[in-house]
């Protein structure tokens, strides 16, 4: 019989598939555990840098942004309970205008603050609803009422002029909170 020690390939590894026999292949010792934690801390440090850069860019640019004035609708064309989707301030920033009731209207940027799904106006429930994960927002303040979102929707400042509604700006969060 062949001796296990003199055999070039140990008998248990003499097969086509399970023949890799590294020592301590899957053990995680103290040193490598701590190294992993240091590496993770480094990864987090690197991942905050772009956010810091973006924030610095925002701080450097003028503190009060100027927004265009954009007509949304003529008040005579819409009835209370209606909602109109539009884009403000950029063409990719979708927004929702809601004519809640007579003399009361609100507009919000309607990308859900959870995962940016479009938020809809639920006329029966009188709430803004995100269908993706059933996030709900208060129509009066934009604050989240239910579901995963934690931040309010950014409110758009409206102005009524000559029987029409215009979007004139986006409120900063700290003014809203």
């Amino acid at each position: 019989m062949e001796n296990e020690k003199t055999r070039p390939i140990p008998l248990k590894d003499d097969n086509y598939t399970h023949n890799i026999n590294r020592s301590n292949e899957r053990s995680l010792d103290r040193r490598s555990f701590m190294k992993t934690m240091v590496g993770a801390a480094g990864l987090f440090a690197a991942s905050t840098l772009p956010w810091g850069a973006l924030a610095a860019k925002e701080l450097m640019s003028s503190s009060s942004k100027s927004y265009p004035t954009q007509k949304i609708a003529n008040l005579s064309d819409i009835k209370p309970g209606d909602a109109i989707e539009f884009a403000y301030p950029g063409e990719h920033d979708s927004a929702l205008f809601v004519y809640v009731k007579e003399k009361e209207y609100k507009a919000y940027q309607n990308a859900c603050t959870h995962l940016r799904c479009p938020v809809f106006w639920d006329r029966d429930e009188k709430e803004l609803l995100c269908p993706c994960h059933h996030g709900k927002f208060d129509i009066a303040t934009g604050k989240p009422l239910a579901g995963p979102p934690r931040r309010p929707l950014p409110e758009i400042v409206l102005q009524e002029k000559d029987g029409a509604v215009y979007a004139v700006g986006v409120k900063r969060y700290e003014e809203q909170l």
């Binding site: 555990f33 701590m34 934690m37 987090f44 840098l49 924030a55 701080l59 900063r172 700290e174």
Partner: protein, 67 residues
């Protein structure tokens, strides 16, 4: 021989702080509180060399103890 967990516990705390700071950095960015973003991302960046120093010190101590 009893091994000391001081270094490991310290590193776990540093990593936890760095996860929390990263999360708050992103939250504060979307809340448009940019000064806080800068402070928090600075804190996360500072935590990394701190973690590295704790690791080095732990390894040095263990070598001196002959482990």
């Amino acid at each position: 021989m009893k091994s000391s967990y001081r270094g490991v516990i310290l590193l776990v705390l540093i990593l936890f702080a760095s996860i929390a700071c990263t999360q708050y950095t992103v939250n504060m960015y979307f809340a448009q509180r940019y000064m806080e973003v800068l402070l928090l991302s600075g804190a996360t960046v500072v935590l990394f060399p701190l973690a590295w120093m704790v690791f080095r010190k732990d390894q040095r101590d263990r070598r001196e103890q002959g482990k």
